[in-house]
């Protein structure tokens, strides 16, 4: 197990390095750098000497190798630098937004899990009956409805029926839980629906698969109470892939909030990402991408370890 863990950990390094190189190159390929975008945005002509001075201040005059090297050195020592646009430390900028996005993501995950596992199991147990059909339509519709539009529909319904819209300013949950929830529950519902649809489909198909296994027939044949067959024998074995899907979707959710945050005017990671990409704020984009991709890679790693720990048949390398 230890060898496997180390092996998997080492495999994360080339992937992360690849992400870093890719982001670095992509950013440098963008038309117009931050200095041009910022100084020329106001219109009129700017003295080339000012532009050069600004580039020098931000370290953009150095060679690409040098810039990459500086960034890598900073990353390895835990220094993410400062935002090129606001001048504040990247860590601070991200931390103030991470809280909000994390909360929405966690709420959506809880919602999705609570809905998906019972619904998916129910659909599998009553395969091809009307219960199954309804749940399948619910799930397939969840994949079709764009989350951001669902959010807009929530706002529309709330506005037209209660003459109320969710608050626009963020209040941390430890300051005023009610205010906080009345703002964040809607985006969580909007992204949670799609998420639960994915997990419901996964649950249904794995439970169906497990129910056809020999040991389920054996359990039934020896007279185990049907409810126990489902809860002890079937569910336990079916949950592993479901947990995987939930974990991976969670990692994607952090980035996937990008559009929904715009609808609710939430100042989260997604909004920050869109802003910084369009501004060409290299240090911020690099840090955000490394964070999101790193998170995803880590969850992947954790899921693999979980598999190996739970299923003794899996031992690679």
């Amino acid at each position: 197990m230890l060898r496997y863990t180390i092996h998997r950990l080492l495999l994360m390094i080339p992937t992360l390095a690849g992400v870093a190189v890719l982001v670095f190159i992509m950013l440098r390929m963008m038309p117009g750098d931050i200095v041009e975008l910022r100084l020329l945005a106001e219109g009129g002509s700017v003295d080339p000497a000012t532009i050069a001075a600004e580039r020098a201040r931000l370290g953009l005059d150095k060679s690409l190798w040098h810039q990459f090297w500086d960034w890598m050195g900073g990353l390895l020592t835990g220094d993410l630098g400062t935002s090129m646009w606001t001048g504040r430390p990247v860590v601070e900028e991200i931390a103030s937004r991470l809280e909000l996005s994390m909360q929405v993501a966690i709420m959506a995950t809880v919602l999705a899990t609570v809905l998906a596992i019972p619904l998916g199991t129910l659909a599998a147990l009553y395969q091809n009956t009307w219960i199954d059909q309804i749940i399948r339509v619910f799930a397939i519709a969840g994949l079709a409805v764009p989350s951001f539009w669902l959010g807009m529909i929530f706002i529309l319904v709330l506005l037209l029926s209660f003459n109320w819209i969710p608050p626009l300013t963020y209040t941390p949950i430890y300051v005023d839980p009610w205010q906080n929830l009345s703002q964040l529950i809607w985006p969580a519902l909007a992204v949670g629906y799609r998420y639960s649809a994915v997990a419901t489909r996964m649950t249904r198909s794995t439970v169906l698969e497990v129910l056809r296994e020999d040991y389920i027939r054996t359990a039934r044949a020896k007279g185990v109470w049907e409810r126990l067959v489902v809860s002890r024998h079937a569910m336990r074995n079916a949950m592993l892939p479901v947990v995987t899907v939930i974990g991976l979707e969670f990692a994607f959710l952090i980035g996937g909030l990008v559009v929904t945050e715009q609808v609710f005017n939430l100042n989260g990671l997604g909004k920050l990402f869109v802003e910084t990409v369009t501004r060409g704020d290299y240090t911020m984009v690099q840090a955000l991408v490394m964070l999101i991709a790193g998170f995803f890679i880590f969850i992947n790693f954790a899921v693999d370890l979980l598999y190996a720990a739970l299923d003794p048949r899996i031992r690679y390398g």
């Binding site: 992937t15 038309p31 079709a144 764009p146 951001f148 980035g255 990008v258």
Partner: protein, 298 residues
């Protein structure tokens, strides 16, 4: 003595139906999806004849008009007919959806086959590269690519958008196709082809690729649905199709959000169009998988 008549032997030959009929009979949901897709196609291709108004025509006399006989789904803040814009939007959605899926799936399939066929070090490197691409959330990758490429129009199509939507598909397709191709590589007829002295490219393109067509087609339909969603999201963010073109995601962005109360039809109908289109492609894709290759996992 009358001769005993020879017993008549009847063979029950199962009737062979046309595959399209067979698909319609066994996959009613998928057929429903296919019908919606066909309606979308007809509307998109014949948009100028189907749409009652010019999608770009401004009519300041009829701004924010509610749905009526004249404007079935109302008008937007510039007095443009929402129904006509949705019909022209189908054109945009299908063009972007199909082109990006065809590009993404084809590139992914070629990478998957090459990687599986050569194996060894090439396979290792290619798989690591695919891992890197997979660790980006789709929208983050697409957003970055769209910005990097900037405005790039070919024949009136936003190529930067199409490429940005296609790139996140590549690693997924490559993975699935690679695993199919790995099994095919071990088949005796590949050994035979090799023994006959065929070139690598001939073996890959003539012997392996035809055998991964089923997963390729299934993924293609599934990804058209995803591409339509992604196009809508990017256009909504203002990074995809831009004004004044008609696109569903674009119709939801900008001014329509200022008129929640005055003109809810501007919010409702484009979203219904997106959902219906994605729903149809998902239904059809699911059924296609059940029909062609039930064991394929995406």
């Amino acid at each position: 003595m009358a001769a005993v008549p020879a017993p008549e032997i009847t063979y029950k030959v199962p009737k062979r139906r046309h595959p399209v009929v067979q698909f319609a009979l066994t996959q009613p949901l998928g057929t429903a999806g296919l019908l919606i897709i066909i309606v979308m196609f007809v509307a998109g291709v014949f948009a100028p004849w189907v749409a009652p108004y010019d999608p770009l025509a401004l009519d300041y006399g009829a701004m924010l008009a509610a749905p009526s006989w004249e404007h079935w789904l109302g008008t937007d803040a510039f007095g443009r007919d929402v129904f006509s814009r949705i019909i022209f939007g189908a054109r945009t959605a299908l063009m972007v959806g199909f082109l990006s899926s065809i590009i993404g799936c084809t590139v992914g399939a070629v990478i998957g086959v090459v990687s599986a066929y050569f194996g060894g070090r090439i396979d290792m490197v290619v798989q690591r590269l695919m891992d890197v691409l997979l660790s980006f959330p789709i929208i983050v990758l697409a957003l970055a690519v769209v910005t990097v490429l900037g405005k790039w129009k070919v024949l009136g199509l936003d190529m930067n958008l199409i490429v940005a939507i296609a790139i996140p598909m590549v690693p997924k397709v490559a993975r699935v196709v690679r695993s199919s191709a790995l099994a095919i590589r071990e088949m005796p007829y590949i050994d035979a082809a090799r023994a006959a002295g065929f070139s690598h490219s001939r073996i890959m393109f003539r012997h392996i690729i035809p055998n991964v067509v089923a997963p390729y087609l299934i993924m293609l339909t599934a990804f058209v649905a995803q591409a339509i969603l992604l196009e809508a999201s990017l256009s909504f963010l203002g990074l995809g199709v831009t004004e004044p073109s008609a696109a569903w995601g674009l119709m939801l962005s900008g001014s329509s959000q200022e008129f929640y109360r005055e003109a809810p039809w501007m919010i409702i109908f484009p979203g219904v169009a997106i959902s219906l289109a994605v729903f149809a492609f998902n239904l059809f894709g699911d059924s296609l998988r059940d029909w062609l290759d039930p064991k394929l996992k995406l």
